[in-house]
Structure formats: C-alpha cells, structure tokens
C-alpha cells in the first residue's frame, strides 16, 4: 500500500465510520464481557455462599449464573457477527471498491 492510497483510504468517510463504529462497538462488547465474567469471579471470591444459594428446588444461583454466562457469551458473539456481516462488511466493500477502483 503506497502513501497516496493510504491517505485516500484514511480520508474516505466510509473508512472513518467503519473504524469509529467497529472500535467503539468492539470495546463496548469486550467491557460487557469483562464486567460479567469478573463480576462472577468476584462473587466466587467474596460471596461463595451466594453461589450455593438455592433459587428453585436444588437449582442454585451459581448454576444459573454459570450457564447464563456461557449462553451470554454465545449470544454476544452472535450479535457481533450479525452486525459485522451487514454494516461492517458493507462499509468494507465500499472502501475496497473506491480504493482499488481509483488505482485502476
């Protein structure tokens, strides 16, 4: 990639939107994951009796939280893929088309 092409891509409004949106979305999702997981670890470390507390029958808070974290992890990655497949891929296609088209 030469400097001219680099400057052109960086000046492309689509590129600026892509970077801004994906960076903020990626970090937001990461922080959600980190807060959920380390929140869970905090409960394990400081309130272990809460983990063993029974909710219904012998199903405990710990089992619900654990299974919930696993299901949430899958859901969060799924949400990211759905958004990336539409919005980010569209933007990327437009950026690549304008960058390579202009070179030809």
């Amino acid at each position: 990639m030469d400097d001219k092409m680099l400057a052109r891509i960086q000046g492309d409004p689509n590129y600026q939107s892509l970077v801004k949106e994906r960076t903020s979305f990626g970090w937001t999702m990461s922080i959600i994951t980190l807060v959920l997981y380390f929140g869970y670890i905090t409960i394990v470390a400081f309130a272990p009796s809460l983990i063993a507390a029974k909710i219904s029958g012998d199903i405990t808070v710990g089992i619900i939280l654990g299974a919930g974290l696993i299901v949430l992890s899958i859901l969060l990655t799924g949400i990211y893929v759905v958004r990336a497949n539409s919005r980010y891929d569209d933007l990327t296609r437009a950026i690549v088309a304008s960058a390579t088209g202009a070179v030809r």
Binding site: M1, A52, G57, G66, A67, Y80, T92
Partner: protein, 556 residues
C-alpha cells in the same frame, strides 16, 4: 490430602487428564478393551485415509501451514473447538465436579469467556495481518528478527508444556482404558501425529480436528441425554440426588476451598480467559480461512460448540456423582468408600458404562484417545511452524529461503518434535505434570497475548517495548510457576509452605507486568527505528481494518 488437593486442584482441569489425585498406580491397568480398540482403529484408518488425500493437496507453504486458506468459517469453528476441547476438559472437568461439585464448573465457564474477547478485539485484524503464525502479526511493522525470536520462544514454551501434559496424559489414559503398556501408547500417539502433520500438514490436521470434535460432541450429548433420561429429564432431580449422595452434600453447590482466596480466584480467572487468546495452536487456525468475515464466523461457531460442550459438563459432572459414586462396580474392591477403578480421572468413562454399557464405554474411551491425538497434532504443527517459519526462515536465514525449503524444515521439525514428545512422555511418566497446562495458559496470557494485542491495537508499541514486555512476561510466568506450590512443593519436594509464590497462577501479576513493560519501554524508546515503527502503524491499521493487501484480496 485435602490440602494437596486444594493446591493442585485448580491446575488439574487444565492439566493432562491423568492426575486428579496424584499419579495412578501402575497396577490399575485394566483388561484389554477390544471395543475401544476397534473403534479407535476405525478412527485411525479414516484419518490416515484423509491424510493420504490431504498429502496430494499439500503443495505450497500456504497449503502446509494454513490448509491453502480454503477452510470455511463453520469448518474452522468446529476445528477450533476440536483443538480446544482436550481430554482435560472432558475427563478433567468431570473428575473435578465428581470430587468437588460446582468448583469444576468454574473451569467450564473460564475456558469459554476468552472467546468473545477474541471475537471483539482480535479475530479480524489477526486474519488481515497474518499469514501462517501469530508472529507474522506481531512482527508486521516491528523488527522481524527479535520479534520472531521472542514469539517463537513463547510458542515453543507454550507448546512444549501443553504437549508434555497431553503425552503423559495419553500414556496413562491408554494404559488404563485400553490395557496397553504406557510406552506403546506414547509411541502410538507420537507416530500417528508425525504422520498426520508431516504428510498432511494443516489440511489433515484440520480434518482430524473436525472428526474428533464431532465424535466428542456426539458422545457427550449421548451421555447427557442418557443421564437426564434416568431423571425424567428433570435437571433439578439430578442435582437433588447428587447433593443427597455426595459426602459433602450441600457443599458441592458452592465454589469450594481452592478458590476461597480471592487472589487465587482472580489469577485463575485471568489465566483462563486471556490464556485462550494467546495459545499459538489456536491463533494459527485463524489463518486457514480466506478472510476476516470467515475468521469472525469461525469464532462464533467455535464459541457455540465449545459453550454447548461446557453446558453438557454440568449434566455429565453431576451425573457421575449420582451414577458412579454409589455403584460398587466402579470402585476398588467393589467398595464405594474406596477410590475409583483406574484412578480419579475416570468418572466420565465409568459414567459412559453406567448409562450405556461396555459399548458406550469403549466408544467414549476411543473418543478420549482420538481427542488427545488431535490436540497433540495441532500443537506439533504450531511448534513446527514457529521453528521453520519464524526461527529458520526469518531469524536464521533472514528471509532468504524458498518456500519448498521452509516446508521441508517444517516437516523435519515435526519429526524431531514427535520424537522429543515421545521421549518427554517417557521421561515425565512418573512426574506430576498437573502444573504444565496451567503454565502453558499462564505463559500464553503473560507473553503472547499482551504483545499480540498491543501490536495490533496500540500505535505506540515499538520493537524495544514488545521484546522486553514479551520476554519479561515469559520469564516471570515460568519463574513464578517454578516457585509456586505446584512445582516447588509437589514436584521438587520442598517442605509445605516454603514456596516463595503462594498462588495457583502467576497471571494476575505477570500479565499486567508484561503490559506495563511493553508500555514503559515503548514510550521511552526515542530511537529512529521506534519512530519509524510508530509511523508504520497507520498503514498496518488500515490493512487490519479493511483487509486490503491480504492474499485473497490480492487475487482480483
């Protein structure tokens, strides 16, 4: 014993399958299990056939290292799941739940939560910047020689510790399950792995992972359904029965004593979560797909399969308490107060027998062996790539080497690594290797992950910062593990309480230390090279975001 378990416990599920309660006595070998051997022989024949087919298609370096870049997102997701769900997950977590209840499930959760982070921050730039190894990415704009030397060392250390745990685990497991001598088992694993990797490269390795992942997911699903069927598909009834039967009763629903210390809980949590994002054999799989979109799909499928599997460990673990614990036929001398036949890692295998008889047990035993074989193959390919692609081609030959030679070096390295793995498996037979996968995760989180993440996302990183941060993370993680109770007391035999570093995992300290060194030695780097590297970030960033310039994009 309970003290020992509290110390060793947190590393067990990470570790080879064979050590939930110390080494297994040699006398525990079981009668030759023909069902298991026939099913496993079927797996071997099928995978050797695939290797033959893959060998015809392995011509270029890209074929060898990255399966030609033609793996789909779904296939790669399943293969990643195959690489990631080791026998330690299946046998180790079941054994931990069997012994301590909920404690084991903390691992199930910790092993999964690294995946969303890989998705949100790493998968796409990783694919857009790398070709064959994660060192490609880390050295993209930094000085190739010191970066690759550091990254290759991080890779080889991670792979070596992981490999030893798997080889020793394989030997012990096969001795127990198949009734074969330890040495045979280690040699069989070593030889098959060499054949898969040298002839079939990444294509064969990928297919071995795919088949193994399907077998493991299918087998676990079947066991879970059969367990739940005994309770009218009422999970609550299963838990209630487990609490009633287990000697610890209600205590099995709590996290247990091993993570009662908050520093242990957090350090373990960090090692599990971020270690995943620094495992070289997992990172390498991202280069087998054609673009960032497929890389992202890979993570989604991997997360789904792995998450599904770990949910099943809840059912399988408590199922083992209910169906194996009170049944005399699974215990030494038919006495339920005595240890399990074959050792403490056998609950999953006995559970298979309890719900499906000899056939099911043979099937699950074969799946466990296939699992180890597949993981070992992935590890070896990753180690061989670090030697040929990073050390030989870039560090020794400074890039003046043709692809054919590089792949030949990789094949020879595979052979050497296979022989070394067999030797290590024999040498470590009697040694408690429980700490080794824990060490691999700690090194991955403390050396590979910080450098890789910062090289992609932080403009300010320079070679000086990355090299110092990477080495400091690597050396401190290995060093603190050596002076932790798992090695200092249990392996080296120093008296209890003399370990300098009293925690289960160093990651809570060594990962931030590595980040800090990367930062400090980059911002104080006033060299011209450092300035050039920071300036080169812009072009790297554009490529990491758009994929412009990667092989697939260059084709049109």
């Amino acid at each position: 014993m309970s003290r020992k378990f509290a110390l060793a416990g947190p590393l067990l599920a990470l570790a080879g399958p064979a050590y939930a309660a110390g080494p297994i006595e040699a006398g525990a070998r079981q009668a030759t299990n023909w069902t298991a051997i026939i099913i496993f022989a079927g797996f071997v024949l099928l995978t050797l056939g695939i290797t033959y087919w893959a060998a015809q298609r392995t011509r270029t370096a890209k074929d060898f290292y990255a399966a030609g870049g033609g793996v789909s997102g779904l296939q790669n997701g399943l293969a990643i799941a195959g690489d990631y769900m080791s026998a330690a997950s299946f046998l180790g977590i079941t054994a931990l739940v069997y012994a301590g209840g909920y404690y084991g499930l903390i691992y199930s959760i910790g092993f999964l939560v690294g995946w969303p982070i890989i998705m949100f921050l790493m998968a796409e730039p990783l694919r857009n910047l790398g070709r064959f190894t994660f060192a490609d990415v880390a050295s993209y704009r930094l000085a190739a020689t010191p970066m690759r030397a550091m990254a290759a060392t991080g890779t080889l250390v991670t792979v070596a510790f992981y490999l030893i745990a798997q080889m020793v685990g394989a030997g012990q497991l096969i001795e127990l399950l198949f009734g074969l001598p330890y040495l045979y088992a280690v040699v069989v694993v070593g030889v098959l792995m060499i054949i898969y990797v040298t002839f079939g490269g990444m294509i064969a390795t990928t297919w071995v992972q795919l088949i193994k992942a399907c077998l493991l997911l299918g087998g676990s699903t079947l066991i879970s359904i059969l367990v739940l069927a005994q309770f009218g598909f009422d999970f609550n009834a299963l838990i209630a029965k487990a609490v009633e039967l287990h000697s610890k009763h209600d205590a099995i629903l709590g996290p247990g004593p091993a993570v009662a210390n908050p520093i242990n809980a957090f350090s373990l949590g960090i090692a599990l979560m971020f270690g995943t994002a620094g495992l070289p054999h997992i990172l390498m799989r991202f280069f087998t797909v054609k673009d960032a979109k497929e890389a992202r799909k890979s993570v989604f499928w991997a997360t789904t399969f792995i998450g599904y599997f770990y949910i099943l460990t809840f059912i399988i673990g408590f199922g083992a308490i209910v169906l194996v614990l009170p049944n005399g036929i699974y215990h030494d001398g038919g006495d339920v107060t005595k240890g399990l036949l074959g050792g403490a890692n056998m609950p999953a295998i006995h559970l298979a027998h309890a719900v499906g008889g000899d056939l099911m047990k043979g099937f699950i035993a074969a799946v466990a062996f296939a699992t180890i074989l597949a993981v070992v193959s992935g590890l070896t390919l990753s180690g061989a790539s670090a030697v040929s692609h990073d050390l030989y081609a870039s560090v020794i030959r400074r890039g003046n080497v043709d692809e054919g030679t590089e792949v030949r070096v990789s094949r020879v390295t595979t052979l050497v690594l296979g022989v070394v793995a067999i030797i290590l498996g024999v040498v470590f037979e009697k040694i408690n290797v429980a700490f080794m996968v824990g060490l691999a995760f700690a090194v991955a989180a403390s050396a590979n992950f910080p450098v890789l993440l910062l090289s992609m996302l932080w403009k300010g990183l320079t070679t000086r910062g990355a090299v110092i941060g990477g080495w400091v993370g690597l050396i401190s993680a290995v060093g603190l593990t050596i002076v932790s109770p798992a090695i200092w007391e249990l392996v080296l035999g120093h008296p209890k309480g003399t370990a300098w570093f009293p925690y289960v995992s160093p990651a809570l300290f060594t990962m931030p230390l590595s980040f800090l060194c990367c930062y400090v030695f980059s911002v104080t780097d006033k060299s011209a090279r450092g300035a050039r590297e920071q300036a080169a970030y812009e072009a790297q960033y554009v490529r990491s975001q758009t994929g412009i310039g990667i092989d697939a994009a260059a084709a049109h």
